[in-house]
């Protein structure tokens, strides 16, 4: 079951990336004629690669709102457990990024773009639900804030890879009040996104 989920999630993710790349290629065919690309893309759609190898899918959208500033939501699901206890998690987050210089070595964008090093702040809302033999063991909700330092590389045309590292604070709480709230400092938070800019 878990393997099938990973295969389906990976297939969907790859299909999404391929489709987007074809769209981008068609719409911006002229871009490939020669450097530099005239208009830096104002959008990016990325997948969290770590989640894909861990029975999850997490998609993040990024929209350039000002020359140095982008903003966007993310949505994700993750399946865990699988021995005696099954776990389903979902997450909605919002991240804002400040692009420090707007350039990086491999892109051909003319002018500043959502590339290169950035600092970000994000907030995430998540729900975790455990079940055992079809019986719901409980639910936990989380609110997590964090800051990160990352770097977006454009590797081929508009395909991007964005590693980041950061830290934050997470509050877990039980919506039914069964468990008292719990605060965790997340001292090491590592992410690896890959996607397409358009």
């Amino acid at each position: 079951m878990k393997r099938r989920f990973v295969i389906v999630a990976s297939g969907l993710a790859l299909s999404l990336l391929l489709s987007l790349s074809l769209v981008v290629h068609d719409v911006r065919a002229a871009d490939s004629a020669g450097p530099p690309v005239a208009t830096p893309p104002r959008n990016a759609l990325s997948l969290q690669l770590i989640s894909i190898v861990n029975s999850g899918v997490n998609v993040q959208y990024d929209r350039l709102m000002a020359p140095n500033f982008s903003f966007g939501p993310s949505l994700g699901f993750r399946k865990s457990g699988g021995a005696d206890i099954d776990v389903l998690e979902s997450n909605f987050g919002i991240e804002s990024r400040y692009w420090l210089i707007g350039r990086e070595p491999f892109s051909r964008f003319d002018g500043r773009a959502m590339v290169g090093p950035y600092v970000s702040a994000r907030i995430d809302f998540g729900i975790t639900r455990d079940t055992q033999n079809g019986h719901v063991l409980g639910t936990q909700m989380s609110v997590a804030e964090g800051v990160a330092l990352g770097m977006r590389f454009v590797i081929v045309r508009r395909f991007e890879v964005t590693p980041s590292a950061g830290f934050g604070l997470r509050t877990d709480f039980d919506p039914r009040g069964r468990l008292a709230p719990f605060w965790r400092g997340e001292l090491g938070r590592f992410a690896l996104l890959a996607g397409v800019m358009f």
Partner: protein, 296 residues
């Protein structure tokens, strides 16, 4: 604890958004540095956190990890406080570490702490019949071995709290990333006083899985499926052996979980123990509520 759902969400966001977050939430009572065996000074102390009120409350003995050679009781301070706010007395203990605390000395210390908590139950508002144990890594091994083999003669502590008698096992066990079988696993030669070829009988006796039999307390195992130090197969084999003997045992495997790093909801990696992830907390509190119960 009687807040509405929306009030809890608002409170969580407000608390989460400030570094003063620990000031939010229900209160608890703390007894710091309580000695359970005065002979060994600060090596055998515990911090006890409990709910406000007279109880008696169910309790959880919390045993930290650190390869039997490191770590300390503060690793479980925050989880213990959470349990205290949730209706459990939680005692996070120190125990003697290697080289002084080689097997079975640390097992004796843990059983001594358990005996102390029961002996002083009225003082700390504990129900002595409802004391569980929770540990991670080396602490997972220790809670497993006191759950499976408390009556093994070499495990009997000689501390005043135990009075020289065997100590009854905990009423329930949560074992996170616990080495359940030392045979063929070469990470514990310092702890066990030599390699398996040199001390095969110690490797057998120190392995919880070799003590499985009917009548054991319920176990919940929590493991990461990408844990390269303590593979989750150990927990699965222990669970299978326990269930085959008519015991209550279940496994929560954290997908993508390592020994010290786990995947969070956003798909990123966090430095965190598997037994403190949100999914582990949900499973753990459900297990504790079912086995040792909460506020009467």
């Amino acid at each position: 604890m009687g807040r509405s759902f929306s009030a809890r969400v608002a409170l969580a966001i407000a608390c989460s958004a400030t570094l003063l977050a620990p000031a939010c939430g229900d209160s608890y009572v703390e007894h710091a540095k309580v000695s359970y065996d005065p002979r060994f000074g600060d090596s055998t102390i515990m911090d006890i956190y409990g709910p406000t009120g007279d109880g008696p409350f169910p309790a959880v003995l919390m045993i930290h990890g650190g390869s039997w050679s490191g770590g300390n009781r503060t690793e479980y301070s925050d989880p213990a406080k959470r349990l205290a706010r949730s209706g459990y007395v939680a005692a996070s203990i120190e125990y003697r570490l290697t080289p002084a605390g080689k097997y079975p000395v640390d097992v004796q210390d843990c059983l001594c702490a358990l005996a102390f908590l029961r002996l002083h139950a009225s003082e700390y508002h504990v129900d002595p019949a409802r004391v569980a144990a929770w540990g991670y890594s080396a602490g997972g091994h220790l809670v497993s071995i006191i759950g499976a083999a408390a009556d093994e003669p070499t495990h009997t502590p000689d501390c005043p709290a135990a009075g020289g008698a065997p100590v009854a096992p905990p009423a329930a066990v949560i074992a996170g990333a616990a080495p359940e079988d030392f045979r063929g696993w070469d990470w514990a030669s310092d702890y066990l006083g030599g390699h398996e070829s040199e001390r095969p009988e110690i490797y057998v006796r120190a392995s919880p899985i070799t003590h499985v039999r009917p009548g054991m307390p319920p176990f919940l195992f929590i493991n990461g499926d990408a844990d390269l130090i303590v593979p989750p197969d150990m927990a699965r084999r222990m669970r299978d052996a326990m269930v085959a003997s008519g015991n209550d045992a279940s496994v929560l495997v954290i997908t993508g979980g390592g020994h010290l790093v786990n995947t969070n909801k956003t798909g990123a990696w966090d430095v965190e123990l598997a037994d403190l992830t949100p999914e582990a907390w949900v499973a753990a509190i459900a297990f504790l509520d079912r086995t040792v119960g909460r506020r009467p």
